[in-house]
Amino acid sequence: MGTEALRRRAPLGPLAEELERVCAGERFACHQDAFRQLTELRCADGAEQEAAEIVGAELPSIGLTAELGGTLVLGLGPGWWMTDSPADTPTLPGSARVSIVDVSAQRTPLDLAGSAARDVISHGCSLDIHPDHFAVGATTQTLLAKAGVMLARTDVDAYRVWVRASFARYLAAWIIDASLEYR
């Protein structure tokens, strides 16, 4: 097998270029941030402090994100976090009560930005993401256009969505369609 056959491919495939080309407006822009290093961190009941020591920083509580030197940490549930780091960041070693697993291939991050980004998301998400309820630094798991996603507000007009690889092309096609009136 030649090296060509082993080249990594992002979940969106050729749709990534179309998404980036079509959704590139002032009011709404979207692109895939491919090949990020994602890990899932789970700890046993009561081992939260141990998990924080392994990471070397306070872990965000449920529904919040924390920025740790280029790594975004999402508080997803009791004893459950996801980290999003640049490609090839070494995965931290876990312990008997803290599990850290590389899940980079499970999801792909999409960045949605612009003053209309909230409206686009709201076309397919029943959650109230008004800044009063979903401020910068907030995160949650929910359904976007019926696809299970992690959603975080990274800035006033910027959101990051982590979608499962097998749903990525569906969601990108939905975003292209849903953002039509905002481009």
Binding site: I62, G63, L76, G77, P78, W80, S126, L127, T140, Q141, T142, L143, K146, G148
Partner: protein, 97 residues
């Protein structure tokens, strides 16, 4: 659509949840000692309450945690949401309409 309050995530649409049936059905202390009738009783038989009912839900599309709720099986009103291990809330008094 029902609005359900996950004890960890707050109010969400019913679509994000899956139903888990009657709550507080205890696993038999000595399963090996059960006869077939008692075992099938434990596995298959549930209350079919008309009125307030303690039941389980799981936040499938969210934090994936299981929790309990008290729901009225006729009106679909919810009276309480509580985590496993929490003190079990009192059943509301049935109001005859």
């Amino acid at each position: 659509m029902l609005s359900i309050c996950c004890p960890w995530c707050g109010w969400r649409d019913e679509l994000e949840f899956s139903y888990g049936g009657q709550a507080h059905v205890a696993y038999p202390a000595n399963p090996a000692e059960l006869d077939d009738a008692s075992w099938s009783e434990y596995i298959f038989f549930r209350d079919n309450t008309l009125g307030w009912f303690r039941e389980r839900w799981v936040h499938t599309a969210g934090c994936r945690m299981w929790f309990n709720a008290i729901r009225h099986t006729v009106t679909n009103e919810f009276a309480a949401f509580y985590r496993p291990g929490d003190p079990v809330p009192e059943m509301p008094v049935e109001v005859v309409r």
